[in-house]
């Protein structure tokens, strides 16, 4: 909490300086500098959510970042961003390199990015942790689970990408293909999900090779975008587990792990409508190949928002997550979360905003397999079937 107060005071004190110092010259090239900080509070009627103690109210929802970027030539850009967060039991103030890469754009239809690159998948995968870019404080968790942010947010590798204007007024296509790897932080959601209290399983590392692509079409209908994404990965993990006779080596690996995502967006002046559907399939071997776990998850949402005034925007969404775990030894085999959300966003100016959001959730998913925000470790007395949540969040960015 002390860190939060200190950071807020630092930002408020340097507010005007930061607003005026967003770019400066280095060797006659402009370097842009930007940053953000957000603070949230959640109270839930039942069940602790998102690894926070929300049933009694929790402000353990802070994140911040800063980046610098520069156009070295007309075709070459470089930049980097650092990110830090504390979300309940996750993050715990261990800053990470969020992205850092060189981007060379040969032509409008072909470019290359290399380094640690944010992953383009669906409408919001690469910006899911920056709520100031969205109407909502929390995106639909079935499609963009914030507790599992690290699994999909970025990859160390490269992209090819491009923008192709189509003939005969057919709009344009944008494509991205990526490949790389990820190494999970011990303070990330996957570690939290996999480790079982009391210490039965202790993971040392989790990593994955990732590849996939995204194709979107700016249609001839003004403001209408549709697209499809594919995300595949091969997970590897190691650690130790205790079956009662002392710790022995543990490994886990993917047999199949992929997701297909279909999306559409319509923006017309002050109105926006989004819809996405995500189907994922995970088949992995755990306990050094002794057990297999399969998870089939279908998630979708429809969302709409309207900016009534320059300083106020109202939005709502309905999201649906259905999880089937046909092979889950000793665990539940199905679950769901239906979430109705309504949000009001207030923009004091271009840099500062506040959000008031309500979630009305039915179901808890399949904790331990595909969390959807609910963990057994955070709810030792068991999970109630319904959860209502109030979310307050503020963000400063420049």
């Amino acid at each position: 909490m002390r860190r939060v107060v200190l950071f807020v005071l630092l930002f408020l004190g340097s507010y005007q300086v930061l607003l005026n110092a967003q770019d400066f010259k280095v060797f006659d090239r402009t370097v842009q500098f930007h940053g953000f900080a957000s603070q949230g509070f959640i109270y839930t009627s039942d069940n602790n959510w998102l690894t926070m103690g929300t049933a009694s109210g929790s402000g353990a929802m802070t994140d911040m970042g800063a980046n610098a970027s520069m156009a070295v030539t007309d075709k070459l850009r470089i930049g980097a961003q650092v990110y830090d967060r504390n979300l309940g039991q996750l993050g715990q103030w261990h800053p990470t390199l969020d992205w850092a890469y060189a981007d060379y754009r040969f032509t409008d239809w072909f470019g290359i990015r290399a380094g640690k690159v944010k992953t383009v998948s669906g409408l919001y995968n690469d910006t899911q942790d920056m709520d100031f870019l969205h109407t909502f404080a929390l995106l639909p968790q079935g499609v963009y689970p914030t507790v599992l942010r690290e699994l999909t947010i970025a990859h160390k590798g490269g992209d090819i990408y491009g923008h192709i204007a189509l003939p005969r007024n057919a709009g344009s296509l944008m494509y991205t293909a990526f490949a790389g790897e990820r190494d999970d932080s011990k303070y990330g959601g996957y570690f939290y999900l996999e480790q079982t209290p009391p210490p039965v399983l202790v993971l040392n590392s989790i990593s994955a090779l990732q590849y996939g692509g995204d194709l979107r079409w700016n249609t001839p209908v003004k403001g209408l975008l549709v697209g499809v994404s594919r995300f595949s990965e091969s997970n590897q993990g190691d650690g130790v587990f205790n079956a009662g006779a002392g710790f022995t080596p543990y490994t886990q690996s993917s047999r199949a792990d992929w997701a297909n995502q279909y999306f559409g967006q319509y923006i017309r002046n002050k109105f926006e409508f989004d819809a996405e559907y995500r189907r994922s399939w995970i088949d992995e071997l755990i306990y050094s190949g002794a057990q297999e776990v399969q998870t089939n998850a279908n998630a979708w949402y429809v969302a709409g928002s309207y900016r009534f005034f320059r300083w106020m925007q109202v939005g709502a969404y309905y999201s649906d997550l259905n999880v089937d775990a046909p092979v889950n030894p000793g665990g539940p085999t199905s679950g769901y979360i239906h979430d109705k959300d309504v949000t009001v966003r207030f923009d004091a100016n271009r840099y500062l905003n506040f959000k008031l959001e309500g979630h009305f959730m039915d179901g808890v998913g399949v904790p331990g397999v595909y969390p959807g925000g609910f963990f057994g470790a955070d709810n030792p007395n068991g999970l109630q079937p319904k959860t209502n949540a109030v979310v307050l969040k503020t963000n400063f960015n420049f």
Binding site: H34, N67, R105, L133, A165, R168, S172, I267, N269
Partner: protein, 223 residues
């Protein structure tokens, strides 16, 4: 006597004046060779989906901070609110895929910056003094500026018989500005043959991609 020439000229003037009727002038640095730009290409430049124009090399968008020209540009070209546009640019900045465009307070500041910055494209109000910069014609949808036209030969036999009418065609224009394909959509077949033969020789302004447009030519026999 009304002539096809007058009718065609009227169509061209109506289409080419779209940008002016919308309340903005699109301006560019002298390094930008294009004389016109389609609304879709201009939108792509401002959304940083495109960073070059055919024959003009690298281009960079310049924003106005507010005002009637800015509001008109948001509404008629980008189809987004200012808040939404700012969030879009921030999504590029905070994922490393782009940068915040230069944003200036007044028409004078926009003109001055565009004049001195290679590849810069901006927009100002209709009344703005644009000395030192180029003005680009903004073509709505698939319309392109017609820069050279051939008059169709009115078949003598049809004219003597008092046979006239309007011929409608769809025209596919190559990026170079040459007419690639003409299809007759309506009107007398013989008049259509003459109209198609003429339109095939028309020349439009270059663009970044192939476009399609509708053209109508009226033939009125002499009384």
């Amino acid at each position: 006597m009304r002539s096809p020439k007058l009718f065609m000229l009227t169509c061209v003037l109506m289409l080419g004046g779209a940008a002016f009727a919308q309340g903005v002038k699109v301006i560019a640095n002298s390094s930008v060779q294009a004389t016109s730009i389609s609304a879709s290409d201009l939108k792509s430049v401002y959304l940083e989906e495109k960073s070059s124009l055919t024959g003009s090399g690298h281009v960079e968008p310049v924003l106005a901070k507010g005002g009637p020209a800015h509001e008109a540009f948001l509404k008629h070209v980008l189809g987004r609110s200012d808040s939404d546009l700012q969030m879009y640019y921030r999504s590029l900045v905070f994922t490393g895929r782009g940068s915040m465009p230069k944003t200036l307070d007044s028409d004078e500041a926009v003109v001055a910056y565009v004049a001195k910055t290679r590849g810069a494209i901006g927009y100002v109000s209709l009344a703005a003094d644009v000395e030192g910069v180029r003005t680009l014609d903004l073509a709505e949808g698939g319309s392109r500026k017609l820069i050279a036209r051939i008059e169709p030969d009115y078949p003598a036999m049809l004219r003597e018989r008092g046979i006239g009418g309007t011929v409608r065609m769809s025209v596919v224009i190559a990026p170079s500005g040459n007419v690639k394909e003409v299809k007759l959509r309506g009107g007398d077949a013989a008049l259509g043959e003459a109209a198609v033969a003429a339109v095939r020789k028309w020349k439009y302004a270059p663009a970044n991609s192939e476009t399609e447009t509708e053209v109508s030519i009226s033939f009125e026999p002499q009384h």
